[in-house]
Amino acid sequence: MAYYSSMTFLWGTGIMKLLFCIVLLLMLPAISTAAGEAAVVGHIQTLQGSVWIERGALRLGGEAGSEVRQGDILRTGKPGAVGLVLLDNTTVSLGSGSELVVRDYAFQPREGKFTLVMQMLKGSFSYVSGLIGKLAPDAIRLQLPEATIAVRGTKLLVEIGD
């Protein structure tokens, strides 16, 4: 009880606020490094119109060769379209007004580790399975707003209405 009241007192004097800010500042590099370390999962191969990548607070214009990392939101405007190639040669292309996130991805043939979890949030998509589809077909999940798709080695078209 005494502890809380002295904390309240210190906060009131501004000393705690200062300490809190210093701690936050010290943590910032760690936070941004952690965000910067998300693994590359693929690259933009083809695009048209407006395409961008949202990575945390960053908003990056997409271009041919742009790397896409796990957790990035890949968006297309109207008009806009983009073709993404993942490391295992899975390809996903997006029509205009679309949003995609590669939520979880592992392609480590040496360790036999394979995962592909993609969120199709809105818009239209063409999905063509790659090596993960051949080596570990049960490792693939496409998540839609109201459904999940388990895909085994094929091509799928997905549309999410407005």
């Binding site: 029509g95 040496r110 109201e146 999940t148 091509k155």
Partner: protein, 198 residues
């Protein structure tokens, strides 16, 4: 009367809270093969396993709609943009190595020229190199050797003027063999690097 009214209200609320309709269509892959896809909600599932099979989801609590066949006109209208921007199929090459080394087998020298030419012709966006070994020797030795083979190809392609915006290099060790064998088998076709030009 009252019960059905409540049920109707409940359904309206539940459906109204949901997003737009989601349509899923199975089509043949670029090699002409048709795989399968299972569409799952809390209300049930549907299996798509024939070319053109389509189902729709209106709510997470309802089973996806009965499987129907998608019409070509519908596909062109709804997926024209996404299909038009599909990345072209990459070109793939394989280089073979002498046992236990990063020395190319003589016929593979010509393939190196083909890789460089393809990268320039396509104005390649990306080149992916994976190194592989056969199953003779220890795991550590094979991991290292596969890595050295991939790194060697990376240097060689750079030196020869291959064109690319990005390059990725990986070691598969004895994993993912071209020809599956028992452990400890010397197999020339597995001593390789695979190069994909996008």
């Amino acid at each position: 009367m009252r019960a059905s009214y409540c049920l109707g209200l409940l359904l309206t609320v539940l459906l109204g809270a949901c997003g737009g309709r989601q349509s899923i269509v199975l089509v043949p892959d670029p090699d002409g093969r048709v795989g399968r896809a299972e569409v799952i909600t809390a209300g049930g599932k549907r299996l798509l396993d024939k070319s053109g099979d389509m189902t729709q989801v209106r709510s997470r609590i309802l089973q996806p709609s009965a499987v129907s066949t998608a019409q070509a006109g519908y596909l062109a209208e709804r997926f024209g943009e996404a299909l038009a921007i599909e990345p072209p199929a990459p070109e793939k090459f394989v280089l073979y190595f002498e046992t236990g080394t990063t020395v190319l087998k003589p016929p593979s020298h010509e393939v190196v020229n083909q890789i460089v030419a393809a990268s320039q012709r396509r104005k390649a966006i990306s080149i992916a190199i994976s190194g592989h070994t056969d199953t003779a020797g220890s795991v550590q030795l094979n991991d290292d050797l596969a890595r050295q083979r991939a790194d060697f190809v990376h240097q060689l392609l750079t030196l020869r003027g291959a064109e690319f915006k990005r390059i990725s290099v990986s070691s598969h060790g004895k994993g993912n063999p071209a020809v599956p064998t028992a452990d400890g088998v010397a197999e020339p076709r597995n001593r390789r690097a695979e190069i994909t030009v996008y």
